[in-house]
């Protein structure tokens, strides 16, 4: 690996970070605007044309607010909580393939930070770490509401990780690889051998389970029990103010972005789009269009997260646990068995 390659990787990492931060920033704007549209309102429209500068104004506000650390909070952990939350949110995007290879001059740029052969498991691990930010922050606040929020977050994440893992296993049985790049390559184009190539058409039940779990893992409504305002004031971030609160909120939006990217890659063909090699375009153009397609899919998923938020009311805690343990896990196991049977009979 030459110096130029390292430089390219470095630039790629910076670009991906910048993109995910900007997307997260504008997700806050989109959330408010979309919520407004769903409720027959206008939404933020004062800062700049159509309120387009609203996220900047919000960010400036977050930075300038007073920083409060409660007297009885455990100082270091109180700061470590939001830091871990945003760290785990950011590192998830490392294994996502953003596009095919791009040729610039003599250099071939792989639009993926790293293609480790346990890519899915890496994402899974990062997701399972994400709960630490919430738990540590909630515990360190030394507040009953925060602690309750943290405990809810922990049990919710652990419960839904299981069915998420099981739904992925059914997918892995079909793909036979753990590398996200290879999974994306397998879904090349849109139609081949008389069936869709995208995994969502091969694993509809698995996708349904996965998306429900993705909602639960990102703590989005209807599974936003760790921070539900009506019961727990602010949940785990009751005591937080200023940019530390901003980090928690930001981490949620980055998580949404990453989980949208994962869902697009695993089930919706990633950077593949229909007729990608029948248009007669050069490789680089196909790659760029593929990247745009991936981002279109991700934005659709982010929109879908918000759409559901303003449609479905929050679950009660026992309903949440019932759904996780009594419905999703048996469904996921049934999905694995069905997938196994189908594979066995088709291969015979």
């Amino acid at each position: 690996m030459g110096l130029a390659d390292i430089g390219i990787k470095f630039v790629l990492i910076v670009i991906i970070f910048a993109i995910s931060l900007v997307v997260a920033m504008y997700s806050t704007y989109a959330e408010r605007k979309i919520a407004a549209f769903f409720q027959d309102r206008i939404g933020p429209n004062r800062a700049g044309p159509f309120g387009i500068l609203q996220p900047l104004a919000d960010g400036a506000k977050m930075f300038l607010k007073e920083e409060i650390i409660p007297t009885n909070a455990s100082g270091f952990l109180f700061i470590a909580g939001p830091s871990i939350a945003i760290l785990t949110a950011c590192i998830g995007s490392a294994v996502i393939p953003w596009g095919q290879k791009l040729t610039i001059g003599t250099h071939v740029v792989d639009l993926q930070v790293t293609d480790i052969n346990v890519g899915i498991l890496y994402i899974f691990g990062v997701v399972s770490l994400g709960v630490y930010g919430v738990m540590i922050g909630g515990w360190a606040s030394n507040n009953k509401y925060s602690l309750l929020g943290a405990i809810r977050a922990a049990s919710q994440n652990i419960s839904y990780e299981i069915s998420m893992g099981l739904s992925i296993i059914a997918l892995l049985m079909m793909t036979g690889t753990l590398s996200l790049r290879e999974i994306a390559e397998q879904q090349h184009g849109f139609w081949s051998h008389g069936w869709f190539t995208w995994n969502v058409f091969k694993q509809p039940l698995g996708f349904l389970i996965f998306i429900v779990c993705a909602f639960a893992e990102t703590n989005r409504t209807p599974f936003d029990l760790p921070e539900c305002e009506t019961e727990l004031v602010g949940g785990y971030h009751t005591e937080y103010s200023s940019m530390k609160l901003g980090f928690y909120l930001f981490a949620e939006y980055i998580n949404m972005f990453v989980s949208g990217a994962v869902m697009a890659t695993l089930y919706f063909g990633g950077y593949n789009f229909p007729f990608m090699h029948h248009l007669g375009l050069s490789e680089n153009w196909v790659t760029i269009l593929g990247m745009l397609a991936l981002f279109a899919k991700i934005f659709f998923f982010i929109f879908f997260f918000m759409w559901v938020r303003w449609t479905v009311p929050r679950f009660r805690y026992d309903q949440l646990m019932d759904l996780g343990w009594k419905t999703l896990i048996p469904l996921a196991i049934a999905n694995i068995i069905i997938t196994g049977l189908v594979i066995t009979f088709l291969n015979r």
Binding site: A36, F38, D40, R41, I42, W310
Partner: protein, 165 residues
């Protein structure tokens, strides 16, 4: 019993069938409903630039009226203060002096007349109570202020502008 409005519906609690139990159809139905609203025209207006028309019987800020000669109609009888359920109105009466006939219609007038706009509930009972037709709630919204004391409106803000100006 026979229902009066014919709107009564018998509540059934049948066990849910399979499609109702998996909830997905109703979730998609809900998503459809919210999507319908997504494309609907907003019902809100951008307030300072656009304003909704007031209805004919809108009750806004109070104004103390003058008669056709430009004299204040209020005679400081105190009926408005008495009728006020929020006790927002106070006044100090004074006797009309010689030479002030063109200012005050009656022999007694309100030297100080104050309404606390934070207490006022805009019910319009003062309007009803006034025997001299001196007070009407025909103004705009009460504008916002930074200090509580600025919400206590004296005669400078309440009395109508003189006629010939």
């Amino acid at each position: 019993m026979e229902s009066l409005s014919n709107k009564r519906k018998e509540v059934e609690s049948k066990p849910l069938n399979f499609w109702e139990r998996i909830y997905l159809p109703s979730i998609f139905q809900g998503l459809g409903i919210t999507m319908k609203h997504f494309f609907r025209k907003p019902v809100t207006v951008s307030f300072p630039e656009e304003r909704r028309e007031f209805s004919e019987n809108f009750r806004g800020m109070h104004s103390l009226k003058r008669d056709e000669d430009g004299r204040e109609r209020c005679t400081a009888c105190g009926l408005c203060a008495l009728s006020c359920p929020a006790e927002a109105i106070t006044m100090i009466a004074a006797e009309r002096q010689k030479g002030e006939e063109n200012l005050y219609r009656e022999e007694k007038y309100a030297a100080v007349y104050e309404i606390n706009m934070l207490r006022c509930i805009f019910c319009g009972l003062c309007e009803e109570a006034c025997p001299k037709e001196a007070i009407y709630l025909d103004g705009d919204y009460v504008p916002s202020e930074f200090l509580r004391k600025d919400f206590i409106y004296g005669k400078d803000k309440l009395v109508e502008a003189p006629l010939n100006q």
